[in-house]
Amino acid sequence: MDMKVDKKKLNLKDKYKLLTRDLGWEPSYHSKDEIYPYVKYEGLKVHDWDKWEDPFRLTMDAYWKYQAEKERKFYAIIDAHTQNNGHLNITDARYLTALKIFLQAISPGEYAAHRGFARVGREFAGVGTQVACQMQAIDEIRHAQTQIHAMSNYNRYYNGFHAFADARDRIWYTSVARSFFDDAMAAGPFEFMIAIGFSFEYVLTNLLFVPFMSGAAYNGDMATVTFGFSAQSDEARHMTLGLECIKFMLEQDPDNLPIVQEWIDKWFWRGFRVLGLVSTMMDYMLPKRVMSWREAWEIYGVENGGALFRDLARYGIRPPKGWDDAEKAIDHMSHQLMLGLYQWSFGTAFHSWIPSDEDMDWLSAKYPATFDKHYRPRWNHIKKLAAAGTPYKNFGLAKLCQCCQLPIVFTEPDDPTMLCNRETTYKGEKYHFCSDGCRDVFEREPEKYIQAWLPMPALFQEQQGDIGAWMAWVSLGDGVDNGDYAGSADQRNFQQWRGLATSNQ
């Protein structure tokens, strides 16, 4: 590494003071309330903004230096991946389904986070917070760009990558992540920090970026590992910012505790639902798996989340309200969602498949209490339908949750044989939910969620239920981008090209 360390320089604490605090000033011809009009309406009380400090004490000069180094490393690997036919080094083209979901649903979330942090960087009244939020805004747009760039190489060879922006706006499963970020961006600056900085980054992104990216390495996809870890190194800073922000809120005034607790309850549950898609990526979509969703949850959910909430207990914070229901869902959610993705695969811009016997044995070993009892019989029946030449497609479309927007595929926390149906009536309209957690979020601020653009009802409002018209509108090529992996062009091409790459035919 060719980074020079300066001979003599300011120590970190002094430099942080000079390059953050000292950039601020006391306004003289406008009041602070006029300059920062959004810091009070959420009810948070802040007495001394200078108490907020970035524990990494990162300043802009160091930020640019280290980010530039990360970019150099990233592009060296992306170039090598492209030059070395990296798209043929993956284990199996089934793996690409996980990448397609990532590109359609997660990368746009990075861009949304960029917009959100650019906004709250302006809205917060403290200089330390402003600088940290500005850095995070730049990080997030870097993540969106590097992810799109890394995956663009696959777009040259495989289907389903070509219209991720249309998918982001229009397809049904991406609205899960989009509504999460829209909800956060439509909130005030402090709630936004809890939503993204705390719940998403601290409690949840470890589950997305760490074991999944390690899985990408296992599956030979160095391009994805590199964007994943390069992004996650920023996330380490973001998590720290999120945790710092929550401690700051709690230390500033005891009246802030109930507000912060409500946000933690809300955003934990919203984040947990977004992670549902990640659970299927880990358990079903990696041809070679590092660990199961359950094992990742033990490490990053139970152990790490548990440590965090024990630490915050000194402020009076308790674990989020949905914590126990989340634990009960862990051994079911990936199976429930993958069964859904398979039966609705005519409407997905990625392929799905029936797990092989070997995959089912792995799932049964990882989920001894649930897989053989509840899910293997369903997969076996689906396998029988496919063998009979009548592959299973569910054209019933799906009832969606008014809050998280996922199809209502989840079962009662204490009864895995019964779908969890929750509903409420607000101003004469009926609304449906997948869980108590989602209904609680709705009932706290119903006016916000009654406007939700739910993709399935929208299909009947906007395309009058015409699935062909809908596919054209979402840029989904029927028989090309969607359906079963078995028999797809992706499968054919991967096998043929890999054969060409490893022989002299």
């Binding site: 590494m1 980074m3 360390v5 120590n11 970190l12 604490k13 524990p55 990494f56 004490r57 990162l58 160091a62 280290y66 180094e69 990360k70 490393k73 470890n206 970026f209 760490v210 990216m213 390690s214 899985g215 390495a217 296992y218 590992v225 870890f229 996650q232 190194s233 996330e235 380490a236 800073r237 998590m239 720290t240 945790l243 401690k247 590092v290 152990e303 790490n304 548990g306 440590a307 965090l308 024990r310 630490d311 207990a313 000194r314």
Partner: protein, 89 residues
């Protein structure tokens, strides 16, 4: 007891850093996973500039950790000499 951890990319730059962390934290447990190394420790983990420099054989700015960092957990406190991760529970 709560576990703090730090995860670093597995590469030539981090090998001596991981050695230094092991030297400074006898209770740390090192897990090697594909492309990454995760180091767990009970309640507290201390990363010292001086030990890293000894292992690395050159001057090292602790903020260089940012380049190969994947993730961490615990409350962070960083100055010129040390980076500490700690749970208060």
């Amino acid at each position: 007891m709560s576990t703090v951890f730090i995860a670093l990319q597995a590469n030539e730059e981090t090998r001596p850093i991981i050695d230094a962390i092991e030297l400074d934290n006898p209770k740390a447990v090192v897990h090697r996973q594909p492309a990454m190394v995760k180091i767990d420790a009970p309640d507290e983990l201390v990363i010292r500039k001086q030990t890293i420099e000894e292992q690395l054989g050159r001057a090292f700015d602790l903020q260089e950790l940012q380049i190969n960092l994947i993730t961490l957990s615990g409350n962070v406190d960083e100055d010129d000499e040390t980076l500490t991760l700690r749970w208060n529970s």
